[in-house]
C-alpha cells in the first residue's frame, strides 16, 4: 500500500530489473531519496538514468531530459537532487556518467497499490525510452519504438 502514482518509478525499476536480469552491466537500484554516498557508485557508471514520479500539472506525462552536473549549490538537507549528486561525483572523482532524468507524471496520490491508468501508460512510455538508451549503451541497438532525440533539460 502506498501513494499510488508516487510508486511509478518503483514499478518501472522492478520491470527493468526483470528485463535486464543477468545483464551484469545494468544495475537497477531503488532509493527513497538520493544521498551523497551514491557518488562512489556513480563514478563507476557510464550511463546513469534517474527516474521519479512528478506532480507538475503543466508537465508532460513523461519528461525526459539530459541531466548535467550542478556546479554549485549543495546539500541543504539530507537528500541530494540528482544534478547535485552528479556535481559531487564530478568534483570528487573527476569523471561523471552521461545522465538522464526521467519523470513520470502522477495523477492519483491517494492510498492504494495500483497505478492510475494514465500513469501506467506513461510509465510504459518511459520504459521504452529507457530501454532504448540502455540497449544503445550496451551496443545492442534499440528494439523499442521510442526513437528520436530527447530534449536537453
Amino acid at each position: 500500500m502506498g501513494r499510488r502514482d508516487d510508486g511509478s518509478a518503483l514499478v518501472l525499476a522492478e520491470r527493468l530489473a526483470e528485463r535486464y536480469a543477468g545483464v551484469s552491466d545494468v544495475v537497477v537500484q531503488e532509493y527513497h531519496q538520493l544521498g551523497p554516498e551514491l557518488v562512489d557508485d556513480l563514478h563507476h557508471c557510464r550511463l546513469a538514468i534517474f527516474v521519479d514520479a512528478h506532480a507538475h500539472e503543466d508537465g508532460a506525462d513523461v519528461t525526459f531530459g539530459r541531466l548535467l552536473p550542478a556546479q554549485t549549490g549543495g546539500l541543504d538537507t539530507h537528500h541530494c537532487p540528482p544534478d547535485v549528486l552528479l556535481g559531487l561525483t564530478a568534483a570528487m572523482h573527476l569523471n561523471v556518467p552521461e545522465a538522464w532524468l526521467v519523470g513520470i507524471r502522477g495523477y492519483d496520490w491517494d492510498f492504494g497499490d495500483i497505478l492510475s491508468e494514465r500513469t501506467r501508460q506513461a510509465m510504459l512510455e518511459a520504459e521504452e525510452k529507457i530501454v532504448a538508451l540502455l540497449d544503445d549503451a550496451l551496443g545492442k541497438g534499440s528494439t523499442s519504438s521510442a526513437g528520436g532525440q530527447p530534449a536537453t533539460s
Binding site: E37, T77, L88
Partner: protein
C-alpha cells in the same frame, strides 16, 4: 524606524523554518526569534490505524532519522503487547540505531556544518557549501561520505534497506543478521574510527584557532536531559531519564521514561508551530532544557566505551570540568558520539549471538497503551500510543528531539544576533552566523512538526508597518 530582518528559510537544516531579527531605529537588535512554519499533523492521521503499523508509519516522518522513529514506535508497540524483545533482537535494534547515529551525525558535521567551519562564516555563500569543501579539502568531503556510508551499511545489513527499514515487529525483529554482513561491517570499523579521529582533530584545531568566538557563540546555561544506563553511562536505545541543572545538580535521576508526562509539559508561543517542552516542576521557561549530543555528554557519567571515554575527558575540560554550554560544542559532542557508536557497533558485532535466529518473543495480548523512548541523534524521542481493545490507535503523542531544543535554539538565535548582527551595516555573513547557531542543533523540523521545504534564502528588511524596504536573496 524599527525594522525586522527575516531569514527565510534557514538553510542546511531539515525542514522549513525562518528567523526574524528585530531592530530599533539605530539598527540595534532588540529581539530575534526562530519560527518553525511547517505543520504536518502525524499524530492526528495515525489515529484509527492498527498499532502494529506504527513502526512503519511513523518512520515516514523523516528521511534522515527514520530508524529512530521505527525503534521508538517498536518499543511502544512492544509495550502494548506486554513483551520484551529477545536478547538478539534487542542487540540488532541497538546495532541499527548506532548505524543511524553514525550516518546522521556524519552528514551533519561533514556536509552541513563543515562549510562554515572549513571555509569560514565570511566566505561568499555561493562557495560556502559542499562544493567549496571539496575544492578546499577533498579528503574531508570524501571521509564524510565514507563515514555516512558505513552507518548506512549497518542500517541496511540489519534493516534490509538504508532508509525506512521495516524490520521491527512486536516483540523483536523479522530478519537476522547474516554472518557475511557481520564480517563485512567489522572490516569497515577501523576506517570509520580513523575518519572520526581525523574529524575530531580538525574540529579541535578549529576550536583552538577560534577559541573566543567558539566560547562565546550561543553559550548559555540550561538544564539538560538524556537517557542513561542504570549505572549512569551514555545510553541511546534503552535506559532511564536523567535531568540535570546548569550547575550539574541532578534534578531527576533514573526516572522511568514511562512516567514522562509527570516530568515534561509543553508550552506554546504564537510565533511557531513547534511547541516548547519544559521540565514540569520548574515551569516555563525556567524548566526549558536541552537534549541531543551536548546534553547527553553533559548528563552521563561516562560513555562506557574506551575511546569515547577518553574523548569525553577532553570534552569535559572545555569548561573547566563544568557543564559544556557553548552551542558550537554540539559538533564535538556529535563526533564523540560517532566514536561511541562505532565502538558499540564493534562490540555488538563481536557478540556471539548477534547472528542468532531467536528473534521474536511472542505475545497475544493488547494493552491499552504503550510508550517507547529512545535517544535519537538529535535528542530524546517519545512515542506514546493509546489503543482500543482491537488495537486501533485512539491517540498518539510524539515529543521529538528538535522540539525540546526549541527554547535553546531561540535563545541561541537571540544571543548570536545580539553579538554579531549590526542592523546599520548588515552583511550576509552576519546572518549566516545566526543560521549557524541553529545548525549547531542540527534540527529536524520535519520531524518536530510532525513538508520538506527547500527554497532559496531570502532576507527581507521591513519597516515597523511591515513594508519591505530591502531584500537580500541567496540561491
Amino acid at each position: 524606524m524599527s525594522r525586522v530582518i527575516k531569514i527565510d528559510p534557514v538553510t542546511r537544516v531539515e525542514g522549513h523554518g525562518r528567523v526574524t531579527v528585530h531592530l530599533d531605529e539605530s539598527g540595534k537588535v532588540t529581539a530575534a526569534r526562530f519560527h518553525v512554519v511547517e505543520f504536518r499533523g502525524f499524530e492526528k492521521f495515525c489515529e484509527r490505524r492498527h498499532f502494529s503499523e506504527m513502526p512503519t508509519l511513523t518512520e515516514r516522518i523523516c528521511g534522515i532519522c527514520p530508524v529512530s522513529h521505527h525503534l521508538a514506535a517498536a518499543k511502544a508497540v512492544d509495550a502494548i503487547c506486554g513483551v520484551q524483545p529477545t536478547p538478539t533482537a534487542r542487540m540488532l535494534r541497538e546495532l541499527m540505531h548506532m548505524g543511524q547515529m553514525i550516518q546522521s551525525h556524519a552528514l551533519s558535521f561533514f556536509h552541513l556544518s563543515s562549510p562554515d567551519l572549513l571555509l569560514g562564516f565570511d566566505c561568499p555563500p555561493e562557495k560556502r557549501n559542499i562544493f567549496g569543501v571539496i575544492s578546499a579539502n577533498p579528503e574531508i568531503a570524501r571521509q564524510g561520505i565514507r563515514l555516512r556510508q558505513f552507518g548506512q551499511e549497518v542500517i541496511a545489513a540489519v534493516g534490509g534497506r538504508k532508509i525506512h527499514p521495516d524490520v521491527c515487529v512486536p516483540g523483536g525483529m523479522n530478519r537476522s543478521l547474516k554472518v557475511e554482513d557481520r564480517d563485512r561491517l567489522l572490516q569497515g570499523v577501523p576506517e570509520a574510527k580513523e575518519i572520526t579521529r581525523a574529524g575530531i582533530k580538525l574540529l579541535l584545531g578549529y576550536y583552538e584557532a577560534n577559541r573566543e568566538f567558539v566560547d562565546t557563540f550561543a553559550s548559555f546555561p540550561t538544564n539538560y536531559m538524556g537517557l542513561v544506563t542504570p549505572e549512569g553511562k551514555l545510553e541511546h536505545y534503552d535506559g532511564l531519564l536523567r535531568m540535570m541543572s546548569p550547575s550539574g545538580e541532578l534534578l531527576e535521576d533514573l526516572y522511568d521514561p514511562n512516567s514522562y508526562l509527570s516530568l515534561i509539559a509543553e508550552a506554546t508561543e504564537d510565533f511557531s508551530y513547534l511547541k516548547f517542552p519544559f521540565y514540569r516542576p520548574l515551569g516555563y521557561p525556567e524548566g526549558s532544557y536541552r537534549v541531543g549530543p551536548l546534553a547527553r555528554l553533559n548528563v552521563c557519567d561516562s560513555t562506557g566505551t574506551p575511546e569515547a571515554d577518553r574523548e569525553l575527558e577532553t570534552f569535559r575540560q572545555l569548561n573547566g570540568g563544568g557543564k559544556v554550554e557553548g552551542s558550537m560544542y554540539y559538533h564535538y559532542a556529535r563526533l564523540v558520539e560517532i566514536l561511541f557508536g562505532i565502538e558499540r557497533v564493534e562490540q555488538l558485532l563481536n557478540h556471539a549471538d548477534i547472528c542468532g535466529d531467536d528473534l521474536i518473543a511472542e505475545s497475544y495480548q493488547i494493552l491499552p497503551e504503550g510508550i517507547g523512548v529512545i535517544e535519537a541523534p538529535r535528542g530524546t524521542l517519545f512515542h506514546h500510543y493509546m489503543v482500543d481493545e482491537s488495537g486501533g490507535i485512539e491517540r498518539v503523542n510524539l515529543i521529538v528531539a528538535s522540539g525540546q531544543n526549541n527554547y535553546a535554539m531561540n535563545k541561541a538565535v537571540m544571543d548570536v544576533a545580539l553579538r554579531h548582527v549590526d542592523g546599520a551595516n548588515l552583511t550576509e555573513p552576519m546572518l549566516n552566523k545566526v543560521e549557524a547557531a541553529i545548525r549547531c542543533y542540527d534540527p529536524c523540523l520535519s520531524c518536530s512538526t510532525h513538508a520538506i521545504g527547500q527554497m532559496p534564502l531570502r532576507i527581507e528588511l521591513l519597516d515597523a508597518s511591515g513594508n519591505v524596504i530591502d531584500v537580500l536573496a541567496r540561491g
